[in-house]
Amino acid sequence: MKLIFEKSRPGRTAFSLPRHDLPAPQMPESLRRERPPRLPELAEPEIVRHFTELSTRNYGVDTGFYPLGSCTMKHNPRVNERVAALQGFRDLHPNQVEEGAQGALELMWRLQEILAEIAGLDAVSLQPAAGSQGELTGLMLMRAYFEDRGETRRKVFIPDTAHGTNPASVTMAGYEVVGVSTDPRGNVDLDELRAKVDEETVGLMLTNPSTLGLFDEGIEEIQRIFHDAGALLYYDGANLNAVCGISRPGDMGFDVVHFNLHKTFSQPHGGGGPGGGPIAVRSNLEPYLPVPTVARDGDRFRWHDARPKSIGRVRAFGGPFGVFVRSYAYLRAYGPQLREMSETAVLNANYLLARLRDDYELPYDRLCMHEFVVSARALKREHGVTALDVAKRLIDHGFHPPTVYFPLVVPEALMIEPTETEAKETLDAFADAMADIAREAVDDPEALKHAPTNAVVGRLDEVKAARRVVVRYGFEEHPDLGGEASEPVTADAPKGV
């Protein structure tokens, strides 16, 4: 379909503004813009059609099953959108004085309390904008903590199953990554930890259950190893959907946790965001929390920014408030029964795993938690059919593909997270499609290479996109910003986390 710029015509307008009879504004000529930006020019009817059509070329949870592993693509309750749009929230200026924002501050305070209880930890900062910013914030807290104690440590342990944000955050925090292997049962290799953890160790970043969908059975020992070395434990909360009300990170020994409000607590993913990445910490890290948090004095709620040892601010204001409204509404729908959410997520995952295990290889043969990873390695070896081919054919069956090629430790990985909101019929239909595809891989592997055939476009040439870098509309000409050719990602790069 056409780009919005290709539908633009000079002089067409959609905007309307109030008019006041005021003299024309004066401004220094040297600062005046010379040529206007070529923004699209359309009337309202064509704008509505353009974006309506775009939306029909996109697949969301509202469209169907979206088992994108590690992303918790659950149903987004619509009441959350209703309450987030309340004028008292939507039209509230963040610089409003506290007296004029008591309801918003109370909501944030209540959310802090709920998250602390779920985490089993003591204090919460809602400020981080997403999980990865939560990670970085957590690492900054650790640095502040060690600096405050006069210790200089540099090494952060990252398991080989970890999400890419974990090592990236370590670098941004000015620390060094130390890799750790996964043992044959899918747990972190304890011997390796015992050998490597020392007084230079800042801590460990762990996703538990891991990105393999497995709860680390050695978690108590892991905790001992790090805490005995004076180091700290960071809990990547991306997989919290597995354990709410069942096991709390704080009780597992973690000192900092981030939540992904857009995963576990139903903030819609918005085509890539927004998210929310609050962190909860043990009391020994509380003095370093970003400012401001929200405090309660009797019936009154206020900003709390008197933290002399704070690492400072990690984003504007108190955080993505609209996300808090949605997640708070969601959490109030479950209340103390939040456990049902996680139990159902884990039940759905194990059922789907049971249905798939005959057709796909299971690298770690255990019950899973809320997600699991199977491998298309055998299909590739025997029929030349890759995880990517399976993913693309799933599109033709009407499903969103799972995450593929992640975690990196599993070759030809298909990482499947059904979430708790799916019906059994949906899981069955997906399992049937996966079985069909496994059969097709035997019968007609070549056909799979042409998938998808039912989508609005066929397989897209990512190599070309990286070589001939066209990242904006060119109006008359299409400039290639690539300069020298860029290294394209390989076809088996992670897709979906």
Binding site: P36, E44, F89, P167
Partner: protein, 445 residues
């Protein structure tokens, strides 16, 4: 009561499924969780609410806030009460966009991908830069992103921040700087704007120099001269701009900025007590491989049809891990999409008229308000700083009792400015509203 309303399994389903798995009860699935770390009790949370109770409870909370729909507000200072047209909300409520995630599978994500490509184009057009990402968390974190780019592009270890740059953006840069191995130097203002010579002196050896146009006081900086001062010192000039000023004010790309960043909220997002919004970041072509975050590129499918994909992913954490240009993954796509819809609604003509309206109103306020200007020599865009003769906090409290929120107390961020009020006018305020403000300020200050 449970939230079964969000769960699709019936009791019969559960039994069949457990049987298929081969465990007797759901608890059997959790054997892998060591007993020592199991919770063993219900979460200590308030009782579950029905949908209607959720709406009641949150409506009550919302009712304890005073938004700009309930008082005549002149608050600005980085977040602005611009009108968000209805089509923005309509587009963002389309489930296929709202409930999708990052477009890793382009064949089923052309909607979001094309929208991002269009967004990138709009941001490039606005800023006069070559390439835009989509998107940063907000107008403060993109400053940290720009510092990270500059650190690696120049190899230098210092960044210079104009004191007139948004205080929160400065704070965020300072929070991130130690991890990046950067020292932060701030340059004070002279009479409300930055002196190019003073900036030039500070820029020596710097990786990047940040300034804001219009600046935090609303004043128009001599931006071209600031950019030159930075560039001459070999530093990357980073301009933090108000997107809605760019119909009237020159685009940073046209006066030599290497990176343009800003807070997108005013262009298409509701204020929502501070978020979620989007931060934009656009740069010169030579910096493209150092940019953080998502970038969408054009390509073709197997049949030669045009299509869009995430591109230059070798910059990103999921490929490059500890060597990535950033750790960002979840971003602000939906809000950026709101920006795209808004800017399409506004168009070039609307953008210019909107700027003229804001400047016209601020000019009116300048003459209408009886109080002395803090920076009488500077032209401003949609804000003015006035001296109210007593603590601005007190003036705000007194004026709010009369239904007017007169602005932001600059003393919250700047020493020696306790009596300075930053008054903001957008197109949602009228000359009559300014008259009312003048009246109230006469009474209380």
């Amino acid at each position: 009561m449970s939230a079964a309303r969000y769960l699709s399994l019936t009791a019969a389903d559960r039994e069949e499924m457990l049987a298929a798995i081969g465990v007797e009860q759901v608890t059997g699935l959790f054997e892998q969780v060591p007993r020592g770390v199991r919770l063993g009790r219900e979460l200590d949370l308030e009782p579950a609410l029905s949908e209607q109770e959720i709406v009641d409870h949150l409506s009550a909370l919302a009712g304890r806030n005073v938004g700009t729909e309930r008082e005549l507000s002149f608050l600005g200072g980085g977040i602005y009460d611009h009108y968000v047209p209805a089509i923005v909300d309509m587009v963002l409520s389309r489930g296929e966009l709202l409930t999708a995630y990052t477009p890793y599978q382009p064949e089923v994500s052309q909607g979001v991908l094309q929208a991002i490509f269009e967004y990138q184009t709009v941001i490039c057009e606005l800023t006069g830069m070559d390439v835009s990402n989509a998107s940063g968390y907000d107008g403060t974190t993109v400053a940290a992103d720009a510092a990270f780019i500059a650190r690696h592009a120049t190899g230098r270890t210092k960044v210079v921040l104009a004191e007139t740059l948004n205080p929160q953006a400065r704070q965020v840069v300072k929070t991130y700087a130690p991890g990046f191995g950067l020292e932060v130097v701030e340059v004070p203002h002279d009479g409300g704007v930055i002196d190019p010579d003073r900036l030039a002196a500070a820029s020596v050896g710097a990786a990047a120099v940040f300034f804001q146009q219009p600046n935090f006081f609303g004043c128009l900086e001599p931006a071209p001269e600031l950019a030159s001062a930075a560039a001459e010192a070999g530093a990357l000039p980073v301009a933090h701009v108000d997107p809605l000023s760019l119909g009237l004010l020159e685009a940073p790309g046209n006066y030599g900025a290497a990176i343009a960043i800003g807070e997108g909220q005013g262009a298409g997002n509701h204020m929502s007590f501070g978020g979620p919004h989007y931060g934009f970041l656009a740069a010169r072509a030579d910096l493209i491989r150092r940019m953080p975050g998502r970038i969408v590129g054009e390509t073709t499918d197997v049949q030669g049809r045009r299509g869009y994909v995430l591109t230059l992913q070798t910059r990103e954490q999921h490929i490059r891990r500890e060597k990535a240009t950033s750790n960002i993954t979840t971003n602000q796509t939906l809000l950026a999409l709101g920006g795209l819809v808004y800017l399409s609604w506004l168009g070039p003509q609307g953008l210019r008229e909107l700027g003229e309206t804001c400047m016209g109103l601020v000019q009116y306020a300048r003459h209408r308000l009886g109080h002395p200007l803090a920076f009488p020599d500077q032209a401003t865009f949609k804000e003015i700083a006035i001296r109210v003769g007593r603590p601005a906090r007190d003036v705000i409290a007194a004026a709010r009792e009369r239904g007017v929120n007169p602005g932001y107390a600059l003393g919250r961020d700047y020493e020696g400015m306790d009596d300075v009020l930053l008054v903001c006018v957008t197109e949602k305020r009228s000359p009559g509203d300014i008259d009312r403000l003048a009246e109230v300020l006469e009474d209380v200050a």
